[in-house]
Symmetry: C2
Subunit: 356 residues, 2 copies
């Protein structure tokens, strides 16, 4: 049976990424060797890494603008630590916007390094909206925000203007919509939503902002060292990087961010329209801050849950339960989820209305 995979991450990737990456494990580039058994310094894998790094900058429209893209191991959670290590001066200060679990995690790690100012937080309303109208201190070493919150289903539609460096955790919506990415100084993203499988983290860095803290940085946490080594300071996560390259190639082929944004807008409109129209359901996030990636919603009457879950299962819908801190449902509609899968979900919601 055809599956409709709404997993919040790791999540659906294009079918051709599954097929091509499986083939590379059996026989990479027709070499008679598996992708898994070749040296990361081999010509074939160096080409993979270089193409992936270049394609990131091309898709984000950051070519020749002073940026470098690197693929690290460790997960975006390690960036919570690396960002202050690389940007916060001794006895320095950083400004954070708190929009949820991941932002809170980033704030916690930054406290190791200096003063952390939370410019605004929606924590008291269970992160159901994106705070607005806050002031960013001009003397902070950087401002950090999280563009999309997978758990609470909120997404920043605008980003503040400031003269200090701006760092953004885009783990769950990078490559999904057009933004002027050159307004950011560091963008980081765990691969496992719109870029590839779990196991690598993309970091895009405006090089000129590095080297200004006065700190000595441990090698593996030093962005400059990873850049200097062409993202091969140590053995990189070979397979996750390769599958990410395949996903980026797919995105370019279908027309890049501009094309996928239209599809993502259509998917989100279809589902949110049904949530708003259908008297059985209600959304949990403030309407103006609704995420196009993760739609969070509840049944107004919990007694329909068993029936709805059964119907979802029968329709091949997978990964719909909401995070325990919100409950209800979360439909993650990352780049590779087709519009038809959203139609299937909307149809099940309509059908539930007719039978209860």
């Amino acid at each position: 049976m055809k599956k409709h995979n709404y997993s919040a991450g790791p999540c659906i990737l294009p079918q051709e990424v599954f097929e091509k990456s499986a083939q590379a494990i059996l026989n990479f580039n027709d070499s008679g060797l598996s992708l898994l058994e070749i040296s990361h310094r081999s010509k074939d894998f160096v080409a993979v890494m270089e193409e992936a790094r270049a394609l990131v900058l091309e898709l984000l429209d950051l070519k020749d603008k002073g940026y470098q893209a690197i693929f690290l191991g460790g997960g975006a959670s390690l960036e919570f630590l690396m960002v202050p290590y690389n940007l916060m001066k001794e006895n320095g200060k950083a400004a954070y916007l708190n929009t949820g679990t991941w932002a809170s995690g980033a704030i916690k790690e930054a406290k190791f390094f200096g003063t952390t100012t939370v410019v605004a937080s929606s924590e008291e309303e269970n992160f159901n909206h994106i705070p607005k109208g806050y002031t960013i201190p001009a003397d902070a070493d950087y401002f950090h925000c999280t563009s999309n919150n997978t758990i609470f289903g909120t997404q920043m539609k605008e980003f503040p203007e400031t003269d200090i460096p701006v760092v953004c955790d885009m783990s769950s919506d990078i490559f999904s919509r057009k933004i002027d990415f050159s307004k950011f100084d560091i963008i980081y993203a765990g691969a496992q939503k719109n870029m590839g499988p779990a196991g690598t983290t993309l970091v895009v860095i405006k090089e000129e902002i590095l080297g200004k803290t006065g700190r000595t940085i441990p090698s593996m946490l030093d962005y400059a060292k990873h850049i200097k080594a062409d993202s091969m300071y140590n053995t990189p996560p070979v397979f996750p990087v390769y599958a990410s390259l395949l996903t980026l190639q797919w995105l370019k082929k279908i027309g890049g961010i501009e094309a996928i944004e239209k599809i993502n807008d259509a998917k989100a409109a279809l589902l949110y329209n049904e949530i708003d129209r259908n008297p059985l359901f209600r959304g949990t996030a403030a309407v103006e801050d609704r995420s196009n990636m993760n739609a969070t919603f509840l049944l107004n009457d919990e007694s329909h849950a068993a029936k709805f879950d059964e119907m979802c299962k029968a329709a091949g819908i997978n990964g719909l339960p909401g995070h325990r801190s919100v409950g209800g449902y979360r439909a993650s509609m990352y780049n590779a989820l087709p519009l038809e899968s959203v139609q299937v979900l909307a149809d099940v919601m309509k059908e539930l209305e007719t039978i209860v």
Copy 2:
């Protein structure tokens, strides 16, 4: 043509690991979903992680001895930093044995945290042997060594007795030979030699040694946090962990470390016998310290190199050039390299002798 893959890492893995992991990317556990698109919190992947962690302890004979096995991202180079963060007291001291490039890297990172004593080093002889007869200071917080050096082809055959915690980087020879692993307090290993593909690092920790430094440790660098979260503090590198599990299952099936050690001994004997017998070649490492994993050797007359390289290529031999800091050749004979591949190399060496 059949390939004989001598890559130093990433390196050859069992053929069934390639086949099963490729299949899991297309359809995992017959779920209709790819391994790459399911939640790391799903029942199916939690089972993978739990089996991998348990199998590590079983194969190392460390079950019910107070150890925990965790799979991290970031590479063994990140452990160079995590070990002192977790074990070195404020104003503490650590003792290191310097046997090569990786040991030197570990020493460099430890200097961030306190005093580092190098108990012995073979650096002046280009690390061609393992130092012996050194004294480990009893007041150090731990002793760190590297069991096998992939670049220089040396391997520790004995480990020192000491009352302080012993930490060992076993990246390139874990699971290859019988050792009393319970003599170690922390064992770490990048997966990409005997355990799996690049992208995850195994850390085996005697739990009782943690929590004694007085330091506050950033979350992602804190072994205790990863243990408490059952190796799922953040999204783990799903595919590398799964492929590692398949490799561990293969090792168990063929008889575990005891069985593979016999095969590894036979492979090493075959190749070193040929290096010592054949007047065209000489080994570079001290005979008593020769690695069973990486045999490093030179041609006595460099003018035969072009012919030898051509013959190797014709025989399907891959990955034989030595590291630039040693030159010559390096035959990496990790667990999954069959004895027949070593026979092919020895035969080419013999054949070269007959024609030059």
